[in-house]
Each structure stands twice: as structure tokens, then as C-alpha cells.
């Protein structure tokens, strides 16, 4: 771990000032990913700005438009077990509980979870090349060990995935990220928050370096019981997703009124295809319709050998998740039988 100074600002403005005056600064909240990466010499900030004392970011409040505003410093645990979240956004609660462990969820924050970095083996190993860690050095994952890598939206420079479970649910729920910077506040829809690697894989999100996340806003809930978060992984808990699916349906009897489907573990960002969701509108819920949707979502998917199975797995997972959502039998994160 490299040497750094630390600041403990007492206000958002002060925090923003700290990062604007120190070019190689990083915010720290729960620290569950940043400290991890600093010990591997992957992140090497020279100045660390501790956000844990900022006032007003640790609460869950009504938005006034029927939605909820989750402060950036709210812990993953607090959000997952909040009665309003459980009641109105059970999909988010479920996705949070599918991720990590109680210890990590107690420390990890909502803002920090948005900024989790990839689990790519090469990104984590400073002795190997990696375009995301060190632009221009290459991507050994493409011809290497890529079991956990992306099948959608990859580039020749990077095939890493975004590892968060929470973000997959937020994408399906069309949450909005509220941020503040030197130019004031702005809102970034989830769909635009994370980016694809393209030729700048070192950049995970569209957040500017001097911006701070204030909150995540959830729109008015609309999916009732018709949702699920289905996560498939190499052991039954405490593992990152090979493929995960967040699905939410607005149903009218057997018919789908509105569908939201986001995939985790398959791309550099939570993967949503609005055109595929459109395909379900007005259709009877059923395997045939779901399969067509899966085809559309996975259009253009490309495997790299070790991860090629994810294409078929994702196809099956989409169908299962939509079946669970349509039936109103969301996947339990405790009972490991898949409904």
C-alpha cells in the first residue's frame, strides 16, 4: 500500500474541495473495495478523503414523488432491511442480500457499491498486464482465464464485468444517482452511470473525478410481488455472480404490462436492453415469450472460451427469472433451491 494523506471533511463542499485540490485523491466510505485494492497496489491514491463524517448522507427519506432517496452513506445492511425498502423495493433488498456477507454489507455503503471495481483476475494482479489498471499494457484475459468475464459490450481492450448485485437491481428499477461537484448537483440515470470499456477501460463510470455521490433515488414503486433477483455463482453464498438477473414485471392477469430486466456478471455495466423489454408488453407471460426476450437481450453476445457457457446460462437464467417474477415467487436469498 502506498503512502497517502487523509482528510476528514465535515461537509460535502469541503469534500469536493479536497479532491479538486489533490489530483490523485480518492473518496473513502466503507472502504471495503478501496482498501482491498490499495493493498494490491491497484489503487494508489496519494490523498484519501474520508466521507464517513459527512452529515445528511446516512438517511433514507421519501422523495415526495412517491419514491425513496437512499443516502450515499447508508450501509448496504441498513438499506436491505429498511422496512420501506423491503415493502416497496423488495427487488433491491433481495439483490443487496445476495451480495457479499453480513460483515461486508455492514461496512459497505450505497455510494461505494456503485463504484465497485471489477473482479477481473488480471486487474487485481499488478504483476500482469491490464488495460484497465494500466492503460496500454494489453488484456491477457481475452486469451487467458476468463471464466468470470463479460460476454456483452466488450471491447478489444477489456472484457471485465461489473461485479455489483445492487446495481443490477437499481438498473432494473431505473434509479437515479444524485451527485455533486464543483459545478453543483446533477442527476445521472442508472443506465448512464456505468459505461462500457470501449477504448477507455480505465474509466468505469461517467462520474467525474471531482464529483461525489449524494444519494440514490428510486422512482415510485410499481412492480408489487412480480420481481426476482436470481444469482448464479460457483458456491451458494459469498461469491460474485457468474450471471445474475433482476427482473420486475407489471402484470395484468396473465399479461405483461411492463417489464424490466437487467443482467449482472455479463458486462462492464448492468446490462439492459429496453427493446427486449418492449417485446413483452401486452404479451402473455410464458416460456415462449421469455425465450424470445432472452434471445434479444443476448443478441451479439460473444464468448472468449472460459466464459462462453455464460451465453447459454444467461439465456436460461433470464427465462427462469421472468418465470419467477411472473409467478410472484421471487428467489429467496436464504433457501438455495431455485424456484
Amino acid at each position: 500500500m502506498n503512502r497517502f494523506s487523509i482528510a476528514r471533511p465535515g461537509s460535502v463542499a469541503e469534500a469536493v474541495r479536497e479532491v479538486t485540490t489533490h489530483p490523485a485523491a480518492k473518496f473513502i466510505a466503507g472502504g471495503t473495495n478501496l482498501v482491498d485494492l490499495m493493498k494490491y497496489d491497484v489503487e494508489r491514491p496519494t490523498h484519501v478523503v474520508d466521507l464517513s463524517r459527512l452529515p445528511g448522507l446516512n438517511t433514507i427519506e421519501e422523495t415526495g414523488e412517491g419514491g425513496l432517496r437512499l443516502g450515499a452513506l447508508v450501509s448496504n445492511t441498513a438499506a436491505a432491511y429498511d422496512e420501506r425498502v423491503k415493502e416497496r423495493y423488495p427487488l433491491l433488498s433481495s439483490a443487496l442480500l445476495a451480495g457479499a456477507t453480513p460483515q461486508l454489507r455492514n461496512a459497505a455503503t450505497m455510494g461505494g457499491n456503485l463504484l465497485q471495481r471489477t473482479r477481473c483476475y488480471y486487474f487485481y494482479d499488478a504483476a500482469t498486464p491490464c488495460n484497465k489498471r494500466q492503460p496500454g499494457t494489453g488484456c491477457p484475459a481475452k486469451d487467458g482465464v476468463n471464466r468470470i468475464h463479460a460476454i456483452l459490450g466488450t471491447s478489444e481492450h477489456c472484457i471485465a464485468t461489473h461485479p455489483s448485485d445492487m446495481c443490477v437491481a437499481l438498473a432494473a428499477l431505473e434509479a437515479v444517482v444524485k451527485v455533486a461537484g464543483p459545478q453543483g448537483e446533477r442527476s445521472i440515470p442508472m443506465a448512464d452511470f456505468h459505461r462500457l470499456p470501449g477504448n477507455m477501460p480505465e474509466k468505469d463510470t461517467n462520474l467525474h473525478g471531482d464529483e461525489i455521490i449524494l444519494a440514490i433515488e428510486l422512482p415510485e414503486p410499481r412492480f408489487g410481488k412480480n420481481h426476482t433477483y436470481l444469482k448464479l455463482r460457483d458456491r451458494l453464498s459469498y461469491a460474485f455472480a457468474l450471471v445474475s438477473v433482476a427482473a420486475a414485471l407489471e402484470m395484468d392477469g396473465e399479461k405483461v404490462v411492463e417489464a424490466r430486466i437487467a443482467l449482472g456478471g455479463v458486462a462492464h455495466k448492468p446490462w439492459r436492453v429496453p427493446e427486449a423489454e418492449e417485446m413483452l408488453r401486452g404479451k402473455a407471460a410464458g416460456r415462449e415469450a421469455f425465450s424470445a426476450v432472452a434471445d434479444r437481450i443476448l443478441q451479439g453476445a460473444q464468448g472468449y472460451g472460459g466464459n462462453s457457457f455464460k451465453i447459454e446460462l444467461a439465456h436460461r437464467a433470464i427465462i427462469r427469472a421472468l418465470s419467477q417474477a411472473a409467478a410472484g415467487t421471487p428467489q429467496s436469498q436464504t433457501d438455495k433451491r431455485i424456484q
Binding site: R3, I6, K39, S52, A107, Y238
Partner: protein, 181 residues
């Protein structure tokens, strides 16, 4: 094995090491196992390294140093967390309970410690302090009641010796006794 004959740890004065010599030292206050401590820490010192290397509280274990095993689990303000991923400076003002702080001052073991012994819920003992702190945290949270829920909520603590079923039995035992009270 009350009189296992071990060489005594060499004396080590807490708070008196190199830490105070460096300009980067930051004063913080931590209440550790009920004792309020004024400490000077460097920005990069994790709570785990502070406990082990500066305070000689070696009961908290380092199994991976990256939040991937749970051996370093302690209770911070009553909540279980991985001390390896917490920079000590960010925990200024917090209350920390480690395995050394669970037994009563007279040496009476915490019920969870007793249950771990009774159910043989460990073998090599290295993940054990983390398991026990995690189990104490789990009880306080109140989200786990069935064996299935306990298994899921204890999945943040890896035991390579494979004592999992005994760990669940130990926790169920304590839960039943607490519930009976």
C-alpha cells in the same frame, strides 16, 4: 488446558512504538473492549493491524487481509465487520469489541464461546475468533432463526477445517438458551 506451558509473550508497550514518531500520525480515540484508548495512527493502518501489531491483541486473525475470509471479524459499534478493510483512522470514536473482550472480567466465557467448545465448532482455531464475533453479531441482528438462515448469515466466515455444521449447532444452542430466558 489451563497450564499449557507456553513461552510468555515478550513485553510490548502499546502506544509506544514507532507510530508516535511519524509526522503522519493522527490522534484518534477508540473504545476497545470497554477501555477508552487515545491512540496515534498512520492513515494506512487498518484496524486489524492496529489491534494485532500495535496493541498486541492477536486474538483477531488475519486470514486474507482482503475481506475474503472473515477471520478478522470484530464488532464495531455492535456490528460485525472485517477489520482488515477498515482504516483505523476512519473508525475514530467507535467502540470495538474483539474476541478478547467477550468473556467476563472474571474469566467466565461468553455463552457463544462456551457453545463453541461444547459443540467442537473449531479445529485449528484460526478462524474461530472471527466466527464467534460474527455469531455474536448475528444474534444481535436478529435476522437469522432457522439453520438455513444461520448458514447463509454465517457464510462470511470461512472455516477451512470444515467445522460448519458444528458452528451452526453451537449458534442454535445459544439461540435456544437466549430464547428460553
Amino acid at each position: 488446558m489451563a497450564d499449557l506451558d507456553l513461552p510468555l509473550r515478550q513485553g510490548f508497550a502499546p502506544d509506544a512504538g514507532i507510530s508516535q514518531a511519524l509526522p503522519d500520525d493522527i490522534p484518534i480515540t477508540l473504545t476497545i473492549n470497554g477501555e477508552r484508548r487515545e491512540l496515534h495512527v498512520r492513515p494506512w493502518t487498518t484496524l486489524l493491524d492496529l489491534l494485532r501489531e500495535d496493541l498486541s491483541l492477536y486474538g483477531t486473525k488475519k486470514g486474507c487481509d482482503h475481506g475474503q475470509c472473515g477471520s478478522c471479524t470484530v464488532l464495531i459499534d455492535g456490528q460485525r465487520m472485517n477489520s482488515c478493510l477498515a482504516l483505523a483512522v476512519t473508525k475514530d470514536g467507535c467502540e470495538v469489541t474483539t474476541i478478547e473482550g467477550l468473556a467476563a472480567p472474571d474469566g467466565t466465557l461468553h455463552p457463544m464461546q462456551e457453545a463453541f467448545i461444547e459443540h467442537d465448532a473449531f479445529q485449528c482455531g484460526y478462524c474461530t475468533p472471527g466466527q464467534i464475533c460474527s455469531a455474536v453479531g448475528l444474534l444481535k441482528e436478529g435476522h437469522a432463526r432457522t439453520p438455513e438462515e444461520i448458514r447463509e448469515m454465517m457464510s462470511g466466515n470461512i472455516c477451512r477445517c470444515g467445522a460448519y455444521t458444528n458452528i451452526v449447532d453451537a449458534i442454535e444452542d445459544v439461540m435456544a438458551k437466549e430464547g428460553a430466558k
